[in-house]
């Protein structure tokens, strides 16, 4: 438990440092990747809705310390995103190795729109613009691209080895019986 918390803290602080020092200089169409949102989403995908909500909330609080927007809005957004993506992954999509890719992309885009929407209600009216859609699209795209390595890192925080492994092959169509001795996929960190 303590090791999980410590490893998660290391991941969060590392993501924050990269976000501050590197992300502003590596942009797509002028939009930065949102690594702290990605960590929250990956926590939800790898560890379920409760872990997603907790890690997303802490990631959001860290980000709120840095940015000039409404304090607490990132925490609310990232916590909700981690929770809902974890719930959807488990109850709707199911534990396939590819599901986190569209899941993280859609959830990240929705989180950006939620953040901007609440911001508009709080008086940040300039967020009601086409720029928000562009940010949502790029953040969603980058989240989809980075979610698999992020899942490996979040699985490491829960005690799994950090080594890279290819996802296991999906069972053949029409094959119902589980194969004996088949390894479970650790790429997504799901327990079957």
């Amino acid at each position: 438990m303590t090791a999980t918390v410590l490893r998660t803290a290391v991941v969060l602080v590392t993501a924050l440092v990269i976000q501050i020092a590197v992300a502003p200089w590596v942009t797509i169409a002028g939009v930065q990747v949102d690594l702290l949102l990605l960590v929250g989403l990956a926590a939800g995908l790898a560890g379920g809705p409760e872990r997603g909500a907790r890690v997303g909330f802490v990631a959001g609080i860290l980000w709120d310390l840095v940015v000039a927007g409404p304090f607490g809005l990132s925490a609310l957004t990232y916590g909700l995103a981690g929770y809902f993506v974890g719930s959807a992954q488990r109850s709707v999509v199911g534990p396939t190795w590819w599901a986190p890719i569209p899941g993280a992309g859609l959830a990240a885009g929705a989180a950006v729109i939620f953040y901007a929407g609440v911001g508009v209600l709080l008086g940040y009216t300039e967020w009601l613009s086409g720029q928000t859609l562009k940010v949502a699209a790029v953040v969603g795209l980058t989240a989809a691209l980075l979610v698999l390595p992020a899942l490996r890192i979040l699985a490491w925080t829960e005690g799994e080895p950090l080594g890279l492994r290819l996802p296991s092959r999906p069972p053949r169509r029409g094959s119902f019986a589980p194969r004996r001795g088949r390894r479970r996929s650790v790429t997504t960190g799901f327990r079957r």
């Binding site: 409760e50 909500a53 959001g60 607490g72 609310l76 911001g119 928000t132």
Partner: protein
């Protein structure tokens, strides 16, 4: 019926949502130490930004090359430069828009741009040790850039004039009419809402400068922007104006902070 795990995770989510909303409310009401916490975090993380800046950013080579070309061009055409200077002086006198000369100023280098996709701010390498205070105006040679939002001992965060929370009292140079302009976000023009009577003639490219009335955060006559669109307001007796900021906010390397404190007087809508 919910399983025990589902119920537990929903309870956790509810608690976190309540905490988030409480923090949001505390921040919006401006009570508590959140501002201090943020300033402290900004000071602690400032070296991290500087490291990223040193490793990846602020490649000035293109700007240096452009300035070298410009110097060579001016040296090769001194007469033209003298003429241009005389013309500039004449225009400034005609419009009365000389930058205030009797205000102490601090030159600063931009060390970081906004770290968030929604942030309209920059960070500079001068802070309280250089005399900077919150709400001081920040300019370039071209015009108004923004206001000091927060200050640490060695750095400061500047909120750009395009941010919707920045309101600037502006004066239409040609007519002398005064109104309040505010930002609308990244790459968007400044908006002067319900500003002028329909009888006031505002043409494209008309210059607007800071009004600098008593109690204002800005000294008078700093160029703010040029009109790019004029349209009728909901009230047919008024019109709305959109301004292109005079300063190029997308290419800020050096800025000047005016150590200006508002003269006591009636409060304005600025901030």
């Amino acid at each position: 019926m919910l399983s025990r795990g589902q119920g537990q995770s929903r309870f956790t989510l509810a608690v976190l949502v309540v905490i988030s909303v409480t923090i949001l409310a505390v921040d919006l009401l401006g009570i508590g130490p959140l501002g201090l916490v943020r300033d402290t975090a900004s000071g602690v993380l400032s070296p991290v930004r500087a490291i990223g800046d040193g490793l990846f950013g602020r490649d000035d080579s293109a700007e240096v090359e452009r300035l070298r070309d410009r110097v060579a061009e001016l040296e090769g055409a001194e007469a033209a430069a003298a003429n241009a200077e005389a013309e500039l002086r004449r225009l400034r006198e005609a419009y009365g828009i000389d930058l205030p000369a009797n205000i102490d100023a601090v030159a600063a280098e931009v060390i970081s741009e906004g770290v968030s996709n929604f942030e309209q701010s920059i960070e500079i390498d001068k802070g309280a040790d250089a005399g900077l205070e919150v709400d001081m105006p920040v300019v370039t040679g071209a015009g108004l850039v923004g206001v000091v939002e927060s200050v640490t001992f060695t750095s400061a965060r500047i909120r750009l004039v395009t941010d919707s929370s920045v309101n600037v009292g502006v004066r239409h140079v040609d007519s002398g009419d005064v109104a309040v302009a505010h930002g609308q976000g990244v790459d968007q023009p400044l908006f002067v809402e319900n500003a002028f009577e329909a009888a006031t003639e505002v043409a494209d490219d008309d210059l607007f400068v800071t009004a600098g009335r008593q109690g204002s955060n800005f000294p008078p006559d700093i160029p703010v922007g040029h009109a790019i669109q004029v349209r009728g307001a909901a009230n047919p007796l008024e019109r709305e104006v959109f301004l292109r900021p005079s300063a190029d906010l997308g290419r800020l390397n050096q800025v000047t902070v005016l150590l200006y404190r508002p003269t006591p007087g009636a409060s304005t809508e600025e901030g």
